[in-house]
Amino acid sequence: MRESQRINFFKFKLKIALCVICWLGFGAAFAQKESVKANEKKEADFTPAKALELVKELDERQRSSGDYKATAFIKETEKNKAPKLFQTTIYRRDGLDKFVMVFNKPKEDSGKAYLKIDKNLWNFEPGTGKWERRTEREKIGGTNSRRSDFDESRLTDEYTAIPESMGSLGKFTTYIVKLAAKEGVDVSYPVLKLWIDKGDGNVLKREEYALSGKLMRTIFYPRWQKIFSDSKKSNVYVPEEIRVFDELEKGNSTIIALKDVDLKKLEDNIFTKAWVESKSR
């Protein structure tokens, strides 16, 4: 009798365990299904309009509307070579699309400068006192950085946003947006892919592609700083650090560090060849 009781009790325990397993199994499957549904919903929500909105928001957050001055350090590390380092000062008048970069250090490069007015990117060589036209693909100081790395974000003007997918970057949930250059716009790379933080809307990672589809550079923006702009009457987001990895020459990388960012109004004559030349003297 006791034996049969023990067997019944065992069967009972077995049934309970099976029920628990089934419940857990169904629960997990249901949860997974719900999660897939949620992701699908998320993906479904990620429309071209949303992608455009995100890119517009990126531009808006970085737009200072007024002037901008910062000290930019550039460090280029190439395989088997001594690193190259530069200290430069950047002046911007974003409303008029004007840009000046003057090299301060090392002294051999002091006085070299880039001046952008409208679609013209000029390079000044103090060694010759001459100006030369350059394109947006110019490697700044011979490094793997481009002028656009130091400029405000104008993605909406330059590119068409295409939603790619939802993704994650470490612990961050991100929107992945593909950008294709608009016709007739001179940009460094015709195709971009951005990882935009779902939480705060900042770009965390950027991949830049050639027209052939080849990945050329991967850029990380690990730090952003917020600075209040009087002209904009709100905060402007500025990357503190930009890390560029060359995908063609693996092992080569460039670090850009932006310091002493100042959004106060600048002198009008800064964005002229005459001022740059006087600075180089």
Binding site: K81, L85, K107, E108, T128, E132, L169, G170, F172, L204
Partner: protein, 690 residues
């Protein structure tokens, strides 16, 4: 006994006339080719040696023993200079090496390339005007108001032409969209308005910036020039390379900095494209006897000239426009007043009118145009990428052009221009001690750590890791840490460094001994150099004669192998046919050695006779054609021939070698048939008789 052997051998030769003739023909052709080919290849090798050693390498070249690549003075296959590092102390190396009695001189040098990008026609004129205004502001007595006025008028002339270009949608105007067209018209209207020029002198900066930024980008720009150059001690270069010769301008005075452009580069790259095409057509028509009506290539050149008249027209000095218009009207017998249209008519070139128009172009028109992008005496800005990785630019005066006598127009010898050693060193950008210290300071100020892609992914995924990295980054990067990064970077006092150096020997036939001696001196004095002969230093170019010789040797060897097989086959056939005879000889007591000797003599006679005929024929050609020389077809050939014709002479030593090789091959080819013959038993003769 010997006579019998010869008689038997000759009888066999005449018995198989056809086979002997076939074998003989191959031997004649093979020996002819070997003697003649070797003579020609030797002449080319000697020409190349002269061209290369007398234009750039000297007899030997030295460069750093730490070089990452082998030295190639003509550059790598992709055109880049070979990465050979540098030797830090020229004086020390020179003093040490000149102790060796066979070294005559050492010329330091180094190769690099630089760009000159003056911009389009309007950019150049805007820059010219800015410079004049700046000089005037500095009260430069050489700048007159008249000169400024003239430069303004020239700019106005260009702007007016551009305005017409926009209206007519000419090829040189870049306009992609309707909005660009509208904006161009608006900007040109502003720049051409009389009010714009009224207060030009007072507001030249803003006016010139408007033209430079709004109007100039409308014009197509392909005026960039690219120069491969050799930095060297120019005085020593001139004294040691006897075929060096100034063509235009003058040699750089001692102690001055400067640039000498190779005349080939000056005529093919710096010269106005329309004039270049006229020269090309002239060369094809006069020298190569080509007909314009039959040559598509020449017709294309004429078409291109007509389509790109702007390239010539926009170099015209505006003040000469009326004179030139009148000249062309008279010459073409046209009433047209528009100079552009007259030029369009002028470049309608046909077979009948070409030579007359060519003469008119150079005599009557050329003086009014800027025929070269750079004039002798101009100070030009050169920009080069330094070895440190950034760009470096200097202004350098063009003193003249040069070439090397005998191969004046060779693209290979013309592959480099010359610059003084100090300017070269400025453009090369050595990593100096001062630069290294500055790099350390900048890195310290920057205060960032090098992170890999994985580290960065970690920053986004792991707060703790991010915190650690952040803390590390916040902390001042220690000087020691930075210093570590630079320990591999070579440091140099730039006014002593050289990349490579040409060595001239007193007796160049002692090259191998001199190389060994230099290596010994290098070891003893710790100079840090390696030495190579001119052939190695010239890279692929220097290896070409070796390649030619290998091809020739391979071809001749194949021919001789065929001859050997034919000899063997013919002797074997003869053996089969003469079994009875051989058996009989064996039966009456002829030893095996007797038979072997018959075969050997038979082959030797055939080989010597026919290879002699081949050699005599080759010598006849060498003495007749070789003495007059083969004309060099094209400028590349002139470099390899080291002149306009290739003269070649008999190489007696090599003729002897060819003879020995033929005899050896024949000897080998005889062995098997002779062995088969010796194996024939006397019984065979009797069996066959039965």
């Amino acid at each position: 006994m010997n006579w019998i052997l010869f008689k038997l051998a000759f009888r066999n030769i005449f018995l198989h006339k056809m086979k002997t003739l076939i074998v003989g023909s191959i031997l004649i052709f093979g020996s002819f080719l070997a003697v003649m080919g070797n003579s020609i290849v030797d002449a080319i090798a000697s020409g190349m040696k002269n061209s290369i050693t007398q234009s750039v390498t000297g007899d030997l070249q030295i460069y750093s023993e730490k070089a990452k690549e082998a030295l190639s003075v003509f550059g790598n296959i992709d055109g880049s200079p070979s990465d050979v590092g540098y030797v830090p102390n020229f004086d020390k190396v020179k003093t040490a090496l000149l102790k060796h009695s066979n070294i005559r001189s050492i010329i330091p040098m180094g190769g690099n390339f630089a760009l000159m990008n003056p911009g389009n026609f309007i950019d150049i004129q805007v820059e010219k005007l800015r410079t004049l205004y700046k000089k005037k502001a500095l009260k430069d007595p050489q700048v007159s108001s008249l000169e400024i006025e003239s430069a303004k008028q020239q700019l106005l002339f260009l702007l007016n032409d551009l305005n017409e270009g926009v209206k007519q949608n000419r090829a040189e105007v870049i306009l992609d969209t309707q909005s660009e067209l509208e904006s161009a018209q608006r900007d040109l209207q502003i720049a051409l308005a009389p009010s714009f020029w009224e207060d030009f002198d007072d507001n030249f900066e803003s006016k010139l910036e408007l033209i430079g930024n709004k109007v100039a980008p409308l014009v197509f720009d392909d005026s960039m020039l690219y120069f491969n150059y050799l930095g060297t001690d120019l005085e020593a270069f001139k004294n040691n390379f006897p075929q060096f010769e100034i063509v235009k301008g003058q040699f750089i005075p001692e102690g001055e900095r400067g640039f000498l452009i190779h005349d080939y580069v000056y005529e093919t790259m710096v010269k106005n494209r329309i004039a270049r095409r006229m020269d090309e057509i002239k060369k094809a028509v006069v020298e190569d006897q080509q007909k314009i009506s039959e040559s598509k290539e020449l017709q294309e050149l004429i078409k291109a000239n007509k389509e790109q008249i702007a390239e010539l027209y926009l170099t015209l000095d505006y003040s000469h426009k009326p004179v030139l218009t009148q000249k062309l009207k008279t010459y073409l017998n046209k009433e047209e007043e528009d100079l552009r249209l007259l030029l369009d008519h002028f470049f309608e070139i046909q077979e009948e009118n070409f030579l007359s128009r060519y003469d008119f172009f150079y005599k009557e028109m050329a003086p009014y145009f800027q025929l070269y992008k750079i004039s002798i005496g101009d100070v030009i800005p050169l920009t080069a990428m330094t070895k440190v990785g950034n760009s470096s630019a200097i202004n350098v005066k063009v003193w003249g052009t040069f070439h090397f006598k005998s191969f004046e127009n060779s693209p290979l010898a013309g592959s480099f221009s010359l610059i003084d050693l100090n300017s070269f060193r400025d453009l090369y950008g050595f990593l100096t001690e001062s630069r290294r210290k500055q790099n350390q300071e900048i890195a310290s100020e920057m205060g960032v750590l090098d992170l890999s892609k994985d580290d960065l992914e970690a920053i986004f995924g792991d707060d703790k890791k991010a915190e650690e990295l952040s803390e590390a980054q916040q902390a001042q990067v220690s000087q020691e840490k930075i210093a570590e990064n630079y320990t591999d970077a070579p440091v140099v006092e730039k006014n002593e460094a050289f990349i490579n150096a040409a060595l001239f020997l007193k007796d160049s036939s002692q090259m191998e001994d001199s190389i060994a001696a230099i290596q010994e001196i290098n070891k003893q004095e710790n100079l840090g150099i390696k030495v190579v002969d001119w052939r190695s230093a010239s890279g692929m170019v220097g290896q070409m004669t070796i390649a030619l010789r290998i091809i020739l040797f391979g071809f001749v060897l194949i021919l001789f192998m065929i001859a050997a097989l034919m000899i063997m086959n013919s002797l074997l056939m003869a053996t089969m046919e003469r079994q009875q005879e051989i058996g009989t000889m064996r039966a009456i007591g002829a030893p095996k050695g007797f038979l072997y000797k018959i075969y050997l003599i038979e082959t030797a006679v055939t080989s010597i006779l026919f290879s002699f005929i081949g050699t005599v024929l080759a010598l006849a050609v060498i003495y007749t054609v070789g003495r007059d020389g083969i004309p060099a077809q094209g400028d590349v050939a002139k470099f390899f021939f080291s002149g306009p014709r290739l003269h070649f002479y008999p190489q007696w030593g090599q003729i002897l070698v060819v003879f020995i090789i033929i005899l050896f091959i024949s000897f080998i080819a005889t062995q098997y048939p002779a062995w088969r013959a010796m194996k024939i038993s006397p019984l065979r003769a009797m069996q066959n008789r039965d």
